[in-house]
């Protein structure tokens, strides 16, 4: 019997995506990105003064990311304030985004990226990275490329893209595997690789190639949102 996803999607099918730029007017750049019912918003402030001073790097500006869930974005209310999980995700998000940035012309300063999840249904870090990448571009930060991010994974032996929470909780056979990746949109360079579960080494190539195809679609959505935000201003 063929494997069926619980929401009826094809194995390679992403959830419906929403992307919007300019959602936080106070910020230098901002964006929203949604995979299905996972909704992330990101705002960029900077380059701006970096405190404390000992963190400053006179050779370059630095990127600082902060990711967290709003307390009501999950069924069991998340206690406010950073958790170990959110601190780790903040750091891998930083590493996922920094290969795309040119911060050398902003010595001693910081670019702050704030990412919050309004509604969580798996894939929050990847949605957050997609939003942050758009927000950085929107903020006028010099960038080599946009970053696109998606979770590829497995339910039992089937490789699937963009897992929901229900799929992340899959228990049968080889269980569920979650493999969060991010890459530069226009080149074959991966900046986030984070995996939990069970996957055979020989299956990884297939997963990577599925993620690449998904990133092409994500990139188109990001690109359109950025371009639309300008048209929006123009038509006011």
């Amino acid at each position: 019997m063929a494997f069926k996803r619980s929401d009826g999607r094809k194995l390679t099918e992403l959830r419906p995506m929403i992307a919007k730029v300019g959602v936080v007017p106070n910020a230098d750049g901002s964006a929203l990105f949604a995979f299905g019912s996972t909704v992330a918003i990101a705002a960029v402030y900077g380059p701006r003064k970096l405190h404390p001073q000992h963190m400053q790097n006179p050779a370059t500006g630095i990127l600082r990311c902060n990711y967290d869930l709003l307390s009501f974005s999950v069924y069991d209310r998340k206690r406010p304030g950073p958790s170990r999980r959110s601190q780790e995700i903040s750091k891998v998000t930083e590493w996922a985004l920094s290969p795309a940035l040119y911060l050398e012309s902003f010595p001693s300063s910081v670019v702050d990226v704030q990412i919050y999840i309004l509604q969580a249904d798996a894939g929050t870090r990847t949605a957050g990275i997609n939003a942050a990448s758009m927000a950085l571009a929107h903020a006028g930060i010099p960038m080599r490329d946009l970053i696109c991010s998606v979770a590829v994974g497995k339910n039992d032996k089937e490789v699937i893209i963009d897992l929901t929470k229900e799929e992340e909780d899959y228990k049968e056979g080889e269980g569920s595997t979650d493999f969060a990746v991010a890459k530069l949109a226009n080149s074959d360079e991966f900046s986030l690789l984070q995996l939990d579960g069970k996957i055979q080494p020989e299956v990884v190539s297939k997963a990577i190639s599925m993620a690449k195809d998904a990133c092409i679609q994500i990139y188109e959505i990001q690109k359109k949102a950025l371009k639309d935000c300008v048209e929006g201003v123009q038509n006011e």
């Binding site: 571009a137 903020a139 010099p142």
Partner: protein
């Protein structure tokens, strides 16, 4: 990696007509061909010129560049800025210019002799100045008040727009800001850091001038902006 990065900014007129422009995002190829040269906001990759900033791509002869439409202020030499005094030291004034580093106005760079005991009478904390950046070293930004039109701002008010919209507010050879001055009777200084000073004959004139500037700063992508602003004044500033 064999990429050239060119990030100088010359604040050229954004509203020039007849130059085709398209919105471009970082990483996007703008043009391909050996003959093109990478200008500000772009890099060369192989045979192509690729954007490194979000903005409007423009070809000026062989040079291709990206005019940014969003973003924080990046200080450059000779920029006129409007800043706020945040501290007084033995040697001068520390000034917040709304960028990644504070700036310093040496007592030597004040327009006249200032006695060290009376520095706060010339410039107190919380007061604003129009100054020029004369030097940038590392994160040190040095200001001067020694040029025409610079100094402490004692009347009127200041407010901020997105810094990358400043060229638009100034207009070709200052045409836009001149138009707004003429229509409102206000004195206006446009700082490259996005801070703008207005002082006029009445509160109403000042409010009108600010709204006109915000009207211009909101329009990213329109041609014939001057006519639109004239119409805006005629039709009661809606």
């Amino acid at each position: 990696m064999n990429n050239e990065i060119n990030e100088t900014q010359d604040y050229a007129e954004v509203d020039s007509k007849d130059v085709p422009r398209k919105i471009i995002i970082p990483g996007e190829v703008i043009v391909t061909g050996e003959d093109y040269l990478p200008g500000e906001g772009t890099r060369r990759e192989g045979n192509s010129i690729v954007a490194i900033r979000f903005g409007l791509a423009e070809e000026m002869g062989r040079v291709v560049r990206v005019i940014p439409i969003f973003g924080a202020f990046i200080p450059r030499r000779n920029n006129v800025i409007i800043g706020r005094v945040i501290d007084i030291t033995y040697a001068g004034w520390l000034v917040d210019i709304d960028s990644a580093s504070n700036a310093f106005l040496s007592i030597e760079e004040s327009p006249r002799f200032i006695n060290r005991d009376e520095m706060d009478q010339f410039l107190a904390i919380g007061e604003v100045i129009a100054a020029k950046i004369w030097g940038i070293k590392g994160k040190g930004i040095d200001l001067t008040l020694k040029a025409k039109g610079l100094g402490k701002l004692e009347e009127g008010f200041t407010f901020r727009i997105i810094p990358s919209r400043v060229p638009r507010v100034i207009g070709r050879e200052g045409s836009m800001v001149s138009l707004i001055k003429e229509k409102t009777g206000c004195n206006i200084i446009v700082g490259q850091n996005g801070w703008i000073w207005i002082h006029g004959p009445s509160l109403d004139a000042q409010i009108k001038a600010r709204r006109a500037i915000e009207f211009v700063a909101d329009k990213v992508f329109v041609s014939g902006l001057t006519e639109k602003v004239e119409k805006w004044f005629e039709e009661g500033q809606k």
